[in-house]
Each structure stands twice: as structure tokens, then as C-alpha cells.
């Protein structure tokens, strides 16, 4: 691999080099920092065991374990976790709390990471769905689709009562086609607004008439379906719901839209990514095999280059879930859901259909203060979070005495760059972690 130029930017990097597989060598060794980067991006954050395993195994094996083995690990986890799940959560906050607990405890962090990616890309608000149980069902459905192709995910959106309820009062009548659902589907979910005209929105709305949500379930009422001819992109004829999905299937904008969003979620959200970089990704993947795209991203030179390292802002959820996973503590997630909402990430209520703005928008003076205070609170020995994060126990669990270089241990565990005087003279594990997470680098994913 050619030595990356120090002045390299996303706009000037050679796309061929960027997407070529990263092969560690003497000049670019596989380090604990790179392993932590992979585990953080693909699954919130690593435990000590996962990190050591990744350091020993290298990038490809580690990505494989995250993306494939994690899925199988949920087979034994699910029944056990499902027993704790309320059958029908009573509020949006309860749904958030339930999901946060799952993100922290799951043996499949990549699955939850992708569930969150879909939720933030096809973003439905609990307060518009009305019934929090429907939103919980939607999260389960997205989790089931975590490793599916974009087309399958899109198709499922039109069958999800939560989506219809949130976008059209659960009624789609022949005489009054629901353009809100059609617009959301084409512009926000599938293709991006630049690729869609108002005519297409109207035609798609006609094709999707006849579907209603009755007592939380979808029902097709045939006399309310407009079975006349429609024209939608390259498709023509008496299109129905399936026809709408078919019409976006071969639309070139679909994989471009997906590639851009995956780039921002996994590589960098500093700026809009240049098409020069995302187009090759999009072209490599007809029909939007999202998992395959993520696999290519996680294997690439670009992913392990300075153009990706620390080039994403952690969302509030990533900030906290990552810390909790690394320290292996189980947090009370009801207060957490509220605190994260106050920081701007109300998990059950993404602001728009395209999710949270992300990137630089996360950090302002006041959200920075509130983030630092939340991290501080999480590491208190008592209080709102009941001292559930206990760094001394984390060390002991891995056979380390709490006095055995806690600064070195947690710097490596949290994937922070090593610097002199990193922990400001702190010595107890709790104090060391409190100092480390207050460092600006900890805000970056």
C-alpha cells in the first residue's frame, strides 16, 4: 500500500487505493488502536477480551466475527433477553430504554449497529406512530433486517404498520392517495430528493392505495386500490405496492443514496462525501447489498487511514453505549433514554425521516457541557446511574489488579491515542476513566 500523503483529503484520495483491501505491513501495522477503531465503528465499542482477540486475529477475521458470528450468538441470547422485554412498552421512552439495554448487552453489536443505521435512515417517530408497541415491533423488524439488502429493507417498510401509521393516518384511499407515504418512501428512504419529481410521488401514491392500518395490523381493501395504469421511472402498467419497490430496484440513485449514508455512518461524517469516492461503492453493489458494502468499507485502506480515523462524531447513543460495553456494566436505561434525549438524541423520536443530522451538529457549547456532565455522572460510585460502571471491576474481571497501570489499560481499551500525562495524575481506576472520557478525542468515533 502506498504511503498516504499527509495532505490527503477525501476529495483528492485515489478511489482505487481507497477501496483496495487494507493489508497490514511493517509500515502500517495492525495495532490495538486500529482494532479498537474497527470494533467501535462496527459495534459501538469493544470489551477487553474482544479487543485482545481482534489484535491477535487481524482486520479480516475480526470483521468476519462481528458481521457473521455475532448473528449466531443471538440464538441463545434472544430467548433469555426476550423474557425481560415488556410485551407492549407503555411509552416512547420505554421503547428507547428497552432498546438501549439491548445495545449494551447484546452479543451481536454489529446487528444493533445496523438496526440503528436503518432506524436512522428510515426514521419513524414514536409520537407519530401513536402506539409505542408498534414502534417496538418496528425495531424488532429492522433488527431482523440488519443484514438484508436495501431492497428487502425498503420493501418491508411498505408492509410495516408503524410506517403507514406515522405517514398517513393509516388510510390510503383511492380518492385521496397518500402522498406523504409516497414522498417519504421515494425521497427520504430510497433515492434522495434530487432523483424524484412530484409526478413520481403522485404515481407512487396511487400505486400504494388500498392499504389501511386496522388495530395495529395492515389490511388491504381492494375497492380502495387504484388499479389504473401508472408510470413510475422505468415501470409502467397497473402498478401496485410491489411495483413501486420494483421501480426503485434498478434506479441508479438507490445504491448511490445507500452508499452515501453508509459512508457517513462508517467512514467519515465531517463533510458530504464526494461522489468520486462513493460511486465505486455504489456500482459494486446492484440492489443494495448493504452488508456487502459495509464489508468492503471495513476492509478498505480508506477505513484504516487518517481520513477515517477519528473522522466521525459520536452520537450520544454511541458515546454511552460504547463506554458501557467497554466497561461491561449494565446501566439503568430509563434515565439514560431521557438524558440522551436531552442531548438531542431521543431514540424513539428521530427528528426527521432522515434521522439525526449527525456530524458536527452534535457538538455545540451546551451539548458539550451536557455530554461531559453525563459521562461524569455515569462514572459516579452512586446517584442516577447507581455506580453500575465500575472500572476497578472491569480490570479485575480481566485478571488485572486495579493498581496495575490503569491508565495504560483504559487508554488501550477505549482506543484513545497515548500521550504523556493522559489522566492528569489520577490513580484510581474510576478517576482514571473519568479523566480519559473527558478528553476531546473520546467524543470522536
Amino acid at each position: 500500500m502506498p504511503a498516504p500523503d499527509a495532505n490527503l483529503t477525501l476529495a483528492t484520495v485515489d478511489p482505487e487505493w481507497a477501496w483496495a483491501p487494507f493489508e497490514p505491513d511493517a509500515d502500517h501495522p495492525w495495532t490495538p488502536a486500529l482494532a479498537a477503531h474497527l470494533l467501535r465503528r462496527a459495534g459501538f465499542g469493544a470489551t477487553w477480551t474482544e479487543l485482545q482477540q481482534a489484535v491477535a486475529d487481524g482486520p479480516e477475521e475480526t470483521a468476519g466475527r462481528l458481521m457473521v458470528d455475532g448473528y449466531h450468538a443471538t440464538e441463545s441470547f434472544n430467548p433469555q433477553f426476550d423474557e425481560l422485554e415488556p410485551a407492549s412498552p407503555g411509552s416512547g421512552t420505554a421503547v428507547s430504554a428497552w432498546w438501549l439495554r439491548r445495545m449494551i448487552e447484546t452479543p451481536d453489536p454489529f446487528g444493533e449497529r445496523m438496526t440503528l443505521f436503518w432506524h436512522a435512515s428510515l426514521a419513524i417517530r414514536a409520537d407519530r406512530v401513536g402506539d409505542p408497541g408498534l414502534l417496538a415491533g418496528r425495531v424488532r423488524s429492522l433488527r431482523g433486517l440488519a443484514r438484508s439488502t436495501f431492497v428487502d429493507v425498503l420493501e418491508e417498510q411498505l408492509k410495516d404498520p408503524a410506517v403507514l401509521q406515522a405517514l398517513g393516518e393509516g388510510e390510503n384511499r383511492r380518492a385521496r392517495p397518500n402522498t406523504e407515504l409516497a414522498r417519504a418512501f421515494l425521497e427520504d428512504f430510497a433515492l434522495g430528493p434530487e432523483s424524484v419529481t412530484q409526478d413520481e410521488v403522485r404515481e407512487a401514491a396511487r400505486a400504494m392505495t388500498g392499504w389501511f392500518v386496522v388495530r395495529g395490523r395492515l389490511r388491504f381493501i381492494e375497492r380502495e386500490h387504484d388499479d389504473g395504469d401508472k408510470q413510475l421511472f422505468d415501470e409502467a402498467g397497473p402498478l401496485d405496492r410491489v411495483g413501486v419497490v420494483r421501480s426503485v430496484l434498478f434506479h441508479p440513485a438507490m445504491t448511490r443514496w445507500l452508499a452515501r449514508r453508509l459512508f457517513q455512518a462508517f467512514v467519515s461524517d465531517v463533510d458530504e462525501p464526494p461522489a468520486l469516492l462513493t460511486d465505486p461503492l455504489a456500482n459494486a453493489c446492484l440492489q443494495g447489498g448493504a452488508t456487502l458494502l459495509v464489508w468492503r468499507i471495513l476492509q478498505s485502506n480508506l477505513f484504516y487511514s487518517p481520513l477515517a480515523l477519528q473522522q466521525r462524531m459520536k452520537s450520544p447513543v454511541e458515546l454511552v453505549v460504547g463506554l458501557a460495553r467497554s466497561l461491561e456494566g449494565i446501566l439503568p436505561t430509563e434515565p439514560l433514554a431521557q438524558d440522551l434525549a436531552n442531548l438531542g438524541q431521543d431514540l424513539a423520536n428521530p427528528p426527521t425521516l432522515r434521522g439525526w443530522p449527525g456530524g458536527r451538529a452534535w457538538i455545540t457549547d451546551a451539548t458539550m457541557a451536557a455530554r461531559l456532565n453525563l459521562l461524569h455522572e455515569l462514572l459516579q460510585p452512586d446517584g442516577r446511574y447507581k455506580g453500575r460502571l465500575d472500572p476497578a471491576r472491569t480490570m479485575e474481571r480481566h485478571g488485572r489488579s486495579p493498581s496495575d497501570d490503569p491508565v495504560g489499560f483504559f487508554t488501550e481499551l477505549l482506543g484513545l491515542p497515548a500521550e504523556p500525562d493522559l489522566a492528569g495524575g489520577a490513580t484510581s481506576p474510576r478517576e482514571v476513566v473519568a479523566r480519559l472520557v473527558a478528553r476531546p478525542e473520546f467524543q470522536l468515533a
Binding site: N342, L343, T352, M368, L372
Partner: protein, 412 residues
Amino acid sequence: MHQSRRHFLQTTLGASALLTFAPRIPGFLARAGEAARRRPGPDETILVVLQLSGGNDGLNSVVPFTNDAYIKARPTLHLREDEVLKLNDELGFHPRLQAFKALHDEGLLGILQGVGCDKLSRDHDGAMRTWHVADPGETPRQTGWIGRAADALIARPGTATPACFMGGIPRPFALNAAAAVVPAFRGPQDLLLRDGRAKSVRGSAHAEAPVNPLLNQVRQAAAEAEAQSSRLRAILEQGEGGNGYPDFPFAQDLRGISQLIQADLGTRIFFAELGGGGIGGFDNHANQAGNHDALLEQLATGVAAFVRDLRRHDLLDRVVLMTFSEFGRTLEENGRHGTNHGAAGPVFLAGGGVAAGLLGSHPSLTDLDQGGLRHSVDFRQLYSAVLGNWLGLDAADLLGGTFEPASLWPAA
């Protein structure tokens, strides 16, 4: 830089981050030498929006006490001439709005009458959504009017928080933004950095990191947060006596907002709320009198304490406060000593040199809209005035259409 030199600088100056990432000079220092009363600069104006949840009964707030239609329609709920606090020969404040009357008499309170819009829903959620979204287009917009203003404000340089919510209910939809993150706070203490934070934030600023715009932004925001926190701590310590604010949560939220304004956060829009949080609020379908009276008193005493506090700090000229409620009530009381969902209602205004006294005309009590009052001012005219004339934003862009701004300021 050499390690020992860096160490020297850090120990002697104590703030290497502040050298590299110097916070803005606090506005109150920059303004110290200037005349106390002057027109605020275009980036110094602040808007405070107070939501009265449940649908406030405007007719028993600003009372047409001589009007026969009012007296006849409200056999048990009407307020008599000898009870109201007279504004003129026809209109008077509810007796529990004494603090408003005092503000009014000092020229510090304006009342914009008959604010509403065509086809305003009579359903709480629907009407509230109309006020929150404020878009005349047919496409349901995904953002609220404050959220869109926040989106416009973060396009400017710096790391200031454009808008925030302070209150005991989930963040209202009005603050929903597409590009900005609009936080919610329980109180100003959420912005006080705990001891020990600052040192470690500073400690890493001497790393000669490669140019990383995100890291620079985090450092800039952390340096600002630290500076704001120390200003805020000093303000909170001064204010321990209470500064004349009553104890209830709404007044404490206003007190917190005043403290944040004094700490000069650079935040341009604050949003607070009265009546939500599961107590039914202003929605008084039965036995209205007791509950409504208490809420009005909370409103007036809270706002009055806020206005006087800001004036004492020479900040009242920089701040416009406005109230709103999703709808007014019906003229007629129902059979249960309450009133039902109506239409237009009054908006209370203070600060920023807004005109005092009654603005516009009182809605007719004979020409009704399904039992409610007809509006003479569209609520988007009010928004247009505060967004455009006051905050200096492109109101037509934010509201998706041009609305003649309501006349809130005395003619020059």
C-alpha cells in the same frame, strides 16, 4: 513545541487551550464601556417562547367585563367589573393577573389580541401541531418553526447552541430541527461543568494533533463550555437569594433561562412551558375557576419576576418574550362550570422594546367561529415579526410564505 516550554506555559498561564481556542469575549465585557441603553446588535437579540399547554381561556384572562354577550354566555364563570383589573372601560385583567397589571402599568407588557388562524383544529394535538409546525404548505413539514430558525442559526460560524428547551415535559415539536441539534435542560446546573473536567479537557489541547476539524470543534466547544460554566457558576452563586422568583417549576425554569442569558451562551431562542406534565393545564372543561386562577397567577408572577430580573441586569432590551396557547376557549361556558375548545386568543409580550398595552382589537363576541373567537392576527404574522424583525432571520423562508409582520413595536 518543546515539552518543558509547553509545561511552562501551562503552569504559568494555566490555560493552554484558551490560547489556542480562545472563547468569544463575553458580550457583557465587550459591552461594558457602551451606553447601557442602546439598540441590540443583530446577533444579540434573544427570543423566549412560553407555551401555555391545554388552551388558555383568553376571555377570562383579558376580560370584556362590560360586554353583555360575555356576561350572558358565562353565567357562573364571568368576572365582574369590581373584580377585574381594568385596562380601559371595556377590558380588564383577571384578578389573579395582578403581576401582569403592574408590568402593564409600567409600560413593560403588551397584549396582542385575537391571534389564531383559519381552520385551526379544535383538537389539542392538531392545534398544537399547527402552532409548532407553522407551515402553510400542504406537505406536512417535519420540522418546527423554532427548529427551522435553529437550522438557520447554526449555519453561522462558532459553536453556540442556537436554541434550547427548559421544562418538565418532552421537548415540544416546535423545536424539531433538521440540521441543528436542539438540546433540553432540566435547569442551568446541567451546564455547570463538574470539578476536574476542565483540567483534563485543557490537558489534551497541547497535543500537536493533525488538522482534524471535528477535534478542533470539540476543543472549541469544550473551551467555551468551560468559560460559560465559570460565568454561570458565578451567576448562580449571586442568585442564591432567589431574586424574587416564586418557587413553582415554571418560575424556576424562567429563572434558569435568565441565568443562561446572563451567562451569555450565545443561545438565541429559549422555550419554556406552563401547564403540561399531566396536570391538565389550561384545559378546563369542568370547574375551571380554581385551576385557571392558579395557573394565571403562576404565569403572571413568573413572567413578572423574569422581566424585572432581566431589567435589573440591563438585558431586557435584548430579550423579547412571547406566550402562546394552542387555542382559546368557547365564549359560552358548558354545563360543568368549564369552557370548551375555542379558536383565537391573546398573546402576551414583554421586553425588547415591544409596545405596551393592548395591541390590535378585541375579537367580536357576536360574530363567532363555532362558538370560539375569530382571529384578527394570523399567528404566522406574530412569528414573522419575532423571526424577521427581532431575530433578523429570513421569516418568509422559515414560514414557507410571506406574512405581514404583526406590529409589535411602537412606530418610530
